[in-house]
């Protein structure tokens, strides 16, 4: 009986000690994960800022015209065609089908 009680008390003590040690261990683990998360978030933000800068309209226009030799479409080269099945979004860009029309008389520009 006494041995049983002693063992139970000992088990409780060991359980308490184990629980405390485990809390500390999990605490370290959480802190490590938090640091990793913060580093990844910083990297994500860095990449988002970089992406945002690279996709800025003035840069795209500069690269398209300066490096890739693209030109603005001339009058009549871009025509929007109404497609009744589509519901135009009053705010979104190019909600209608953007059609590239080639006229027999229009030469392609290079």
């Amino acid at each position: 009986m006494r041995t049983g009680i002693a063992l139970a008390v000992m088990s409780l003590v060991l359980l308490f000690v184990w629980e405390r040690v485990d809390v500390v261990r999990v605490g370290y683990h959480i802190e490590r994960l938090k640091s990793e998360k913060a580093a990844l978030e910083r990297e994500r933000d860095e990449l988002r800022v970089k992406l945002s800068g690279l996709t800025a309209p003035d840069r795209i226009a500069r690269v398209a015209m300066g490096q890739l030799g693209m030109v603005r479409p001339r009058q009549g080269q871009v025509i929007l065609v109404k497609v009744p099945a589509q519901t135009p979004d009053p705010t979104g860009p190019a909600s209608m089908v953007l059609g590239l029309a080639k006229f027999a008389s229009t030469k392609r520009s290079h």
Binding site: E31, V49, G53, A61, G92, A94, L100, A101
Partner: protein, 572 residues
């Protein structure tokens, strides 16, 4: 028996030693745990617990398509602990290769008798990594929040900027400071013997509240088009600056607000307050003939005129209160529509005279002049519309031709949008939605009607007249092929304060209009300040309207009214 005595003696000695030992331990225990408990407990608390203030992240600003316009990034700042640096000169030389700070300046800081000095703050992350890789004793990095505007000068006057402390100082950053700002929170961290954080004390103290994200009505692409075309026009005409506003007339949503000269909100410390003032809302100017739209609307609404009513234009010259008013084109009898189409000053003065001071003033106020539009930007001016009691003999005639009155570009955009949308004066706005960091919608802004200055019928009749201004009047250069455009040109003399008279060399050229005229989707206001050479609104500002419209209309998928003959159509 004789052998038991020494054994007992030893037992007594051992027992004595044990009692003494345990007694000493017990007394020390009582001393530490009871007598010094409070003092030592406090000391342990100080050593194991670290209080830290964690800043909440500032919310981002996005355009209507979710593209980033402003966001916070955590970046490294480099500090030094001079008492721990053994060779300040050598450390300074190593650091100057990585940091944008001179070696002698770093060395001077490191030779100070202090425990902490900033060496460089809010650096690019790459520089921070390079400093860390040097592993210099007494040099460390900490993370701080820094505001980034990745599109640089794009939309700078609307976005504004933040100070070093992260508080909004101008534009949306200032107006929505309480929405964007993250809330800092004091956190107690438990540390072990090595100083590592073990676990936050209490789960409720895990982290600070981040600020909310803001979605604007602005479209980055339309903004780019507006800024580019404005910049080209300002450079070509040698103007001081200018403003272009693109607005959705039925809702009051501002799609673009371009102000020139521009500035980069990432580097404002070297600039003056004058360069970041948003002139579209803070500066009132005399609108010139664009104000004839209001005079015409009033005359039609009051049924004083119809498009075919005749007005005598005095062959281009008329005396009003000892002042001669000229028309740039001499005319005799004109129809009411011709007065607007040809922008006859004399015709406008005669119409305004028939309306009378009270009615002209009432319609100016009804169209929103002389009061703030309440657009969500700081520093908006109400402009200048005096009450009729303060008008002089010439005031009515001056106002009829858009002089002697101060309006802002945003007021003009709102007023003309009322003609475009069938008579409703809308409240212009820039912020369409506010979301928390998890993307949950907190607030959504809906279009708001302020009042209705004119009926739909008046708007329809006036719209037809304004179409003819672009088709065959002073605004021909604003015409966009295959689209119906309605609009009005304006050229106003600037008031010379030194000469106390209107200048004959300094003008404000403007054009205001909407497209497509029968189903308006865009109201565009163009104001060019002090163009050199030919300074007419129809010459300088109208082409900007056309170039902006012809790029934005296809972008928004707004089809033409004209039938097209297609040889081949490819999609996708």
């Amino acid at each position: 028996m004789s052998q038991a005595k020494p054994y007992r003696g030893r037992s007594v000695v051992v027992a004595f030693v044990l009692v003494l030992g345990f007694g000493a331990v017990l007394s020390r225990l009582i001393d530490l745990q009871i007598l010094q408990a409070a003092k030592l407990g406090e000391k342990a608390e100080q050593q194991h617990h670290k209080a830290a203030v964690v800043e909440g992240r500032r919310g981002g600003i996005y355009d209507r398509q979710g593209r980033i316009l402003a966001m916070n990034m955590e970046v490294p700042s480099v500090y030094g602990v001079p008492t721990s640096v053994e060779h300040p000169g050598r450390v300074a030389r190593d650091l100057t290769r990585v940091l944008p700070v001179r070696a002698d300046e770093i060395e001077r800081k490191l030779r100070q008798k202090r425990n902490f000095v900033w060496i460089a703050r809010k650096l690019d992350p790459e520089r921070g990594r390079r400093v860390e890789s040097l592993s210099l004793r007494g040099i460390g990095t900490v993370i701080e929040g820094r505001r980034f505007y990745p599109k640089r000068p794009l939309l700078s006057h609307v976005l504004g900027f933040t100070g070093l402390d992260g508080h909004g100082l101008e534009g949306i950053e200032r107006r929505y400071e309480s929405t964007l700002r993250g809330h800092s929170r004091r956190v107690i961290l438990q540390r072990d013997a090595l100083g590592r954080t073990v676990f936050p004390k209490g789960l409720s103290e895990l982290g600070p509240h981040s600020g909310n994200d803001i979605s604007l009505t602005i479209d980055e692409v339309i903004q780019y088009v507006a800024e580019k075309e404005l910049l080209d026009a300002v450079n070509t005409s040698g103007a001081k600056g200018g403003v272009v506003i693109v607005m959705e007339p039925t809702s009051g949503e501002v799609l673009a607000m371009a102000v020139n000269p521009r500035f980069d909100p990432n580097a404002v410390r070297s600039l003056s307050a004058d360069s970041w003032r948003n002139r579209a809302v803070t500066d009132a100017y005399e609108p010139g003939s664009t104000l004839k739209i209001v005079i015409a609307a009033a005359a039609l609404e009051e049924k004083l005129m119809t498009p075919s009513s005749m007005v005598f234009a005095e062959n281009g010259r008329m005396l009003v209160a000892n002042t001669v008013i000229h028309d740039h084109e001499k005319s005799g009898w004109l129809t009411f529509a011709d007065v607007i189409r040809r922008s006859s000053n004399i015709g406008a003065v005669k119409i305004a005279t028939r309306l009378g001071e009270e009615r002209v003033h009432r319609y100016l106020r009804a169209f929103g002049f002389g009061e703030r539009t309440e657009i969500d930007l700081p520093g908006e001016t109400a402009g200048l519309v005096k009450s009729p009691e303060a008008w002089g003999e010439r005031t009515l005639a001056s106002i009829a031709i858009g002089q002697g009155i101060g309006v802002t570009a945003v007021q003009l955009a709102t007023a003309v949008s009322a003609v475009a949308n069938g008579g409703w004066l809308m409240k212009p706005y820039l912020v369409s939605a506010i979301r928390d960091q998890q993307g949950r919608l907190i607030a959504q802004v809906s279009p708001q009607v302020r009042r209705r200055p004119i009926t739909a019928e008046t708007a329809r009749v006036l719209s037809k007249i304004l179409e003819s201004v672009v088709r065959e009047g002073t605004g021909r250069r604003a015409a966009v092929p295959s689209y119906r455009v309605a609009g009005k040109t304006g050229t106003a003399q600037k008031y010379d304060l030194e000469a106390n008279a209107y200048s004959s060399t300094r003008f404000v050229a403007s054009f205001v209009g909407y497209v497509p005229a029968r189903d308006p989707r865009l109201t565009i206001v163009v104001v060019i300040d002090e163009p050199q050479g030919e300074a007419w609104g129809g010459v300088v500002a109208a082409p900007v309207f056309r170039r902006v419209a012809e790029q934005v209309l296809p972008y928004l998928g707004i089809s033409t009214h004209a039938p097209v003959e297609l040889a081949l159509v490819t999609t996708g």
